[in-house]
């Protein structure tokens, strides 16, 4: 994947007495992209492609990238209220929300809290709910794996792309961002492991037309989990993309963008 410099398209927006890193660009209706547990890796090809049709707004959650951690913000519950404040303050209300992985969980939490604040909801290989019993493991744990073992979980074809895992040879800015991402991911997602046991029973509150997109070869959260997620959201459409893993927006940019365009019009 060709990724432009880490700071391209970045601006800092004021938020809650502090600031938040936002990548933005393009023109047309605004869409808000909420990243997953490994953050944004720059102005990515998916941003660029979506920016041809939409105004892309891609914040880094507090603690991720160069967004500072905020005092007393340490749960997805906190993040959901923070983003409700942010989209109201920036006049992005109601919002078109696209959430990836951890960001999908966050988007769903925003939508159940304030259904009228969301105009369209797109969840992509999202975590956040519990579908199995107490001994079931819905969400694979990449954080206890190293190197290639971890890469194999994320990609249908790990030979083509890789997650920029912290490495001594890495550019210092990227290394610092990736280490911050890891810390923030643990802060919000450690326990219960990347889900809210109460979320599934609240998904019926969502009123926005919703699309659930899944990589057919996702080894972090299976397509069956994605189907269960979609089935819990009233009227949600569920589509899978063949030949891609946990990151349809990175491993299958074109079919992914097409599914977004088809849904949002």
């Amino acid at each position: 994947m060709v990724i432009s410099a880490l700071r391209d398209h970045v601006s800092m927006w004021p938020l809650s007495g502090s600031e938040i890193e936002v990548r933005s660009g393009g023109s047309g209706p605004r869409i808000v992209l909420l990243h997953g547990a490994y953050g944004w890796w720059g102005w990515e090809p998916v941003h660029q492609r979506l920016a041809e049709r939409f105004t892309v707004v891609a914040p880094s959650h507090p603690g991720f990238g160069s967004s500072p951690r905020l005092p007393d913000v340490d749960t997805v519950d906190d993040l959901a209220y923070l983003y409700l404040d942010l989209i109201a303050a920036r006049g992005i209300l109601p919002a078109r929300l696209v959430g990836f992985g951890f960001g999908g969980w966050l988007a769903a939490e925003i939508a159940v809290r304030c259904p009228h604040a969301v105009e369209r909801l797109i969840l992509v290989d999202s975590v956040g709910i519990k579908t199995s019993g107490r001994e079931g493991r819905d969400i694979e744990d990449p954080f206890v794996l190293v190197g290639d073992e971890q890469q194999r979980l994320f990609w249908a074809d790990p030979s083509r792309q890789s997650v920029p895992l912290p490495h001594p040879d890495m550019n210092e800015d990227l290394l610092e961002a990736m280490l911050s991402n890891q810390e923030a991911a643990m802060l919000y997602g450690w326990k219960p492991f990347f889900h809210n046991p109460k979320l599934k029973q609240r998904l019926h509150r969502i009123t926005a037309p919703s699309l659930v997109v899944w990589g057919e070869e996702d080894r972090i959260v299976s397509p069956a989990y994605g189907k269960a997620f979609a089935d819990s959201i009233p009227g949600a459409r569920f589509v899978t993309i063949p030949g891609v893993g946990h990151y349809p927006h990175r491993e299958g940019v074109e079919p992914f963008v097409q599914s977004v365009v088809d849904f949002l019009g």
Partner: protein, 385 residues
């Protein structure tokens, strides 16, 4: 100086190839490799060795880890309880209770107070944050370990020093009635010991006048941290900390001759050769971002430590009684008053361990004791030693 006998109570019977296959001695190595019958013998032998230390005039140190073959003492209140009754005189240094991983700090306050009463005031109370891999057995958020450590510490200290029920609504723990029965035998509470590996947290220890302990650090690295402690107390206008405030843990072996000690004592290297899984040992968020960046910058440097180089650095103390006394003197010159002796590791047998302990106690300890004459009675009374 005071010398403490210590073993991690390892389970040394897992074949090397099994450990290699799982890439770790901890957390993911299946417990099917544990034989409780062998484990029973080990526990009783290790506890007997501690009682032997008491007989020899040595003090005792205990620690705990979880889900690992390197240490099967999974609850220091349990091992300390056995020893509180079965020993007569030794200080029992719990180093320490992994505060972030104990779900109920009030229970910790109760357990330590009970141990202190049973032992009639022989407890040193160590609190630790726990190594990274401990977040998995306990399920503790690695990002929250430091703040949980501090809140649990504050709560326990308040529980020991408040003569009536009180209310606590903290971030991690909430109680409407904290009113700990029993109270510690040593008043206002047992000596508190804290471990450390980096300078960042040393001022917190110095501010509270606690004993600061380092494990398996080279002379220079330990001295640097001790200096951070001393600088902090000087800045605050506190009394200059004495030798009773500094402790070091070393791998130790004494034999009749240097050659014999360096041959037999090599078995201690077992502890340093266990497989450490990088992701388990340093879970995301456990170390700060700057600490991780520094760690990654040095990760490719060869460690290459040998028995000999570790002796040079003071991490291993081994030799004839004369050589061992000389090495300990080097620690004393750096202000250390407590020597925590890891006299055993891995498959080292009881006979060999006890031979070394006895020789140390008889031939070396009298001289070491004189280097920094710390009074056990004054320690127990909470007075400067």
């Amino acid at each position: 100086m005071l010398a403490y006998h210590f073993t991690e109570m390892p389970y040394p019977y897992v074949p090397q190839e099994v450990e290699d296959r799982y890439g770790t001695a901890r957390v993911l190595l299946p417990n099917s490799y544990y034989d409780p019958k062998l484990g029973a013998d080990l526990y009783n032998r290790y506890l007997d060795d501690f009682i032997y230390a008491d007989d020899l005039g040595l003090e005792i140190m205990l620690n705990e880890h979880h889900q690992t073959l390197t240490c099967t003492d999974v609850s220091i209140p349990i091992s300390a309880a056995a020893l509180a009754r079965q020993t007569k005189r030794a200080r029992i240094c719990l180093l320490g209770t992994p505060l972030p991983h104990r779900d109920n700090p009030v229970r910790v306050a109760e357990e330590i107070a009970m141990l202190d009463c049973i032992s009639r005031g022989r407890i040193n109370c160590g609190f630790v944050r726990g190594v990274g891999s401990e977040v998995h057995p306990a399920g503790t958020n690695p990002v929250a370990t430091r703040e949980r450590f501090e809140e649990a510490h504050d709560l326990i200290l308040k529980a020991w020093t408040t003569p009536e029920p009180f209310h606590w609504e903290g971030k991690h723990w909430q109680y409407r009635y904290v009113n700990v029965w029993p109270q510690p035998y040593q008043q206002p509470h047992p000596p508190i010991w804290i471990t450390g590996t980096s300078a960042g947290n040393v001022p917190w220890v110095a501010d509270r006048d606690y004993v600061f302990a380092v494990f398996l650090l080279a002379f220079d690295d330990a001295s640097y941290l001790f200096d951070v402690y001393r600088q902090r107390t000087a800045e605050l206008g506190m009394p200059t900390p004495g030798e009773d405030k500094f402790a070091v843990l070393c791998l130790c072996y004494t034999a009749e001759t240097d050659e014999q000690a360096w041959d037999e004592g090599r078995q201690l290297m077992w502890y340093l050769q266990r497989k450490r899984h990088p992701a388990l040992f340093n879970p995301p968020g456990f170390a700060s971002v700057p600490a991780n960046m520094a760690f990654l910058a040095g990760i490719d440097k060869p460690r290459g430590d040998t028995f000999e180089s570790l002796r040079e650095k003071g991490i291993i103390i081994a030799g004839s009684p004369t050589t061992v006394a000389k090495q300990i003197k080097q620690w004393h010159e750096r202000g250390v008053g407590h020597l925590l002796m890891m006299n055993h590791a891995g498959p080292m047998g009881a006979e060999m361990t006890r031979k070394s302990m006895k020789l140390f106690a008889e031939e070396v300890y009298p001289e070491v004791r004189e280097m920094a004459p710390i009074s056990v009675e004054r320690v127990a009374a909470g007075l400067p030693a």
